[in-house]
């Protein structure tokens, strides 16, 4: 177990380092580089050279990367001239709100996806299974922003019970103070997640229901309810923990779209606006931070899984 922990931590660390390398390369190896992209097409060569010199972009890449990492370690992600604030500051204002949105929609997804997946597995290849499967596929095939728009049309226009825009509060507390505004973004983001999770729960449950130990449990005269809830559900849900980690990149991608659509002042929206304005310090900073969040999230999920599932826990300690 301890060895697994160390190995997994080491892997995560390597991945984080690689993420910074990739982000760095993307910005600096492309034609024209950051200078051209920041200053625009009309900038003269002199202007570009001055910009590069000022930013240290005329030095060797290795050195630039070294400087970049050094700044990163000091919590310095650069300065956004367009927002007129440091990247760290901009992100720290927005990140908690994105986390609130992601967390709420994940919770909603888990609460709904598990029973849906269980129903599908227990009634597999019958109408409840087919219905939920069709809806999941439909949800998966629909662009999130189209889905969000349908929600707005349905619940703000045709049947106006919810506001079409997300809360605009500056702090998390202010955002939470407007729960009605949070409903549509959360639900929109959750729908695709539900589709993915319930498919996963379904297949995990179907696999487990075909296991021999289930037959043993039935031979003890247990009710079908007890067989499903006490035996298969536990075993089927353990691996879902790792799915929570694996799904994070897709969740954040979804959040980017949802925040843009509902005008939710989170990281995604920050990133979107920065992309439209070619604000590279923000783009790079957000990318690195969101990637680190993904790596850490996946790490936590894996470790949690290893800690709670006796199959993994004990194998780890034995080998």
């Amino acid at each position: 177990m301890v060895r697994y922990l160390i190995t997994r931590l080491g892997q995560a660390l390597i991945v984080v380092v690689l993420v910074t390398v990739i982000a760095f390369l993307i910005l600096h190896l492309l034609p024209g580089g950051a200078a051209r992209a920041t200053l625009g097409k009309e900038a003269t060569l002199e202007q570009l050279a001055a910009f590069n010199h000022e930013m240290g972009y005329d030095r060797p890449w290795i050195q630039q990367y070294g400087m970049y990492v050094q700044r990163l370690l000091h919590g310095d992600l650069g300065y956004s001239y367009q927002l007129n604030q440091s990247v760290v500051e901009a992100i720290s204002q927005r990140l908690p709100k994105t986390m609130v949105l992601s967390l709420l929609s994940t919770l909603l997804a888990i609460v709904l996806a598990i029973p849906l997946g269980v129903i599908q597995a227990v009634r597999r290849n019958r109408w409840p299974d087919y219905t939920i499967t069709s809806l999941s596929l439909l949800a998966y095939a629909t662009p999130i922003f189209f889905m969000g728009l349908m929600m707005i049309i349905l619940f703000s226009q045709i049947w106006p019970i919810l506001p079409p825009e997300a809360p605009q509060g500056f702090t998390v507390a202010e955002v939470l103070a407007d729960p009605a505004g949070l409903v549509l973004p959360t639900v929109t983001l959750a729908i695709v997640t539900i589709a993915v999770y319930s498919r996963y729960v379904r297949s995990a449950m179907v696999d487990n229901l075909n296991e021999n130990y289930v037959r043993t449990a039935r031979s003890k005269g247990l009710s079908e309810r007890r067989v499903v809830l006490r035996h298969t559900l536990r075993n089927g849900l353990f691996p879902v923990i790792t799915l929570l980690g694996m799904y994070l990149p897709a969740l954040f991608s979804g959040a980017l779209v949802v925040e843009s659509l509902f005008n939710f002042p989170g990281m995604g929206q920050l990133f979107w606006q920065a992309a439209l304005k070619r604000d590279f310090p923000i783009l790079l900073g957000v990318t690195v931070i969101i990637s680190i969040a993904t790596v850490v999230g996946a790490l936590i999920a894996d470790l949690l899984y290893a800690a709670v599932d006796p199959r993994v826990r004990l194998r780890g300690s034995a080998s």
Binding site: L248, A250, L276, L283, L284, T287, S291
Partner: protein, 307 residues
């Protein structure tokens, strides 16, 4: 060395498959085709794809519209007005003709990006899986790292740097969607490498090259093709997202995602014909590729057919 008499080998004659008489000898591809055709959804998917692709690529031959010059005198016409069956958009393009044009882009970008991603991923994953050891660890950490950057963020970062065009869109999506296939192919290579039939071949004196050529590639190809169809579906969605986020192909070029995003602006003005047709088209084509992929998965699974 001649054959022994039947008397010495009892059981020879009846020891044929019980259904040998009825079951015609069929190639593996034929058998797969039968399984594919048994999957009704797969057939629906294939039909949908043929229908949508047919409309988009053949439609303009019969239904001529001007998709280059704007016509500000015919803006936001409702369906049916002035001979525009699906109305016109905000700059006067005929919506039906535009759907065909946009569909071409969406399908081409989806197919090309999906195939590019699959090809790149297969190459990377196969090399990692075969070489193994240190190189494998290093190559897979790179995949881990890129996978932990949420794909939309990555695409937008790139799209912000380069000017999007159709070919650039294909390159961008293809260059970053290969991670999934890479992982998949590597896992497949690792399992196939340890299969007993590969060991049997090695016990006959066969080389690693032969193992790859005759055993691993033919058995992995199904997984790769199935995954490619899902990649195409995902790529079409990515194009839509990029367009929505304002980083799609610039006009007069069109794609369904861009049309849908433009249609969002018209939500409150009641121009429904600008919103729903491209939205539904995207959903249908993505569903089609998912259905096809599911059907192919069954078709490639030889073991499903074991008695």
């Amino acid at each position: 060395m001649t054959t022994l008499s039947q008397a010495v080998r009892p059981g020879t004659a009846p020891d044929q498959p019980a259904d040998a008489a009825e079951a015609p000898v069929r190639g593996l591809w034929r058998q797969g085709l039968v399984v594919f055709c048994e999957n009704r959804l797969a057939l629906v998917g294939l039909g949908l794809f043929v229908l949508l692709a047919g409309i988009c690529f053949l439609g303009p031959l019969f239904y001529h519209t001007d998709q280059v010059h704007t016509d500000l005198t015919a803006v936001h016409l409702a369906p049916g007005e002035q001979g525009n069956p699906l109305g016109t958009d905000g700059v006067g393009y005929d919506q039906l003709g535009r759907l065909m044009l946009g569909g071409q882009t969406s399908i081409i970008v989806g197919l090309a990006a999906g195939i590019l991603a699959t090809a790149l991923g297969t190459l990377w994953g196969a090399v990692a899986g075969f070489v193994g050891g240190w190189a494998d660890s290093a190559m897979m950490r790179v995949v881990d790292a890129m996978m932990s950057i949420p794909s939309l963020f990555l695409f937008m970062l790139l799209a912000a740097i380069v000017t999007p065009s159709v070919s650039m869109l294909i390159l961008i999506i293809g260059a970053f969607a290969w991670l999934g296939p890479a992982r998949l192919v590597r896992g497949e290579a690792l399992t196939l490498r340890s299969r007993e039939y590969v060991q049997a071949m090695r016990a006959m004196g066969g080389t690693g090259g032969r193992a790859v050529r005759r055993h691993i590639v033919p058995n992995a190809i199904g997984t790769v093709i199935v995954n490619a169809t899902f990649q195409v579906a995902d790529a079409i969605l990515y194009v839509a997202y990029l367009s929505f986020l304002g980083l799609g192909v610039p006009p007069p070029a069109a794609n369904w995602g861009g049309m849908l995003s433009d249609g969002l602006a018209d939500t409150y003005s009641g121009h429904w014909w600008l919103l729903y047709p491209p939205g539904i088209a995207i959903i249908l084509i993505v569903l089609a590729f998912n259905f096809i992929g599911d059907g192919l998965r069954d078709a490639f699974e030889v073991r499903l057919r074991r008695r």
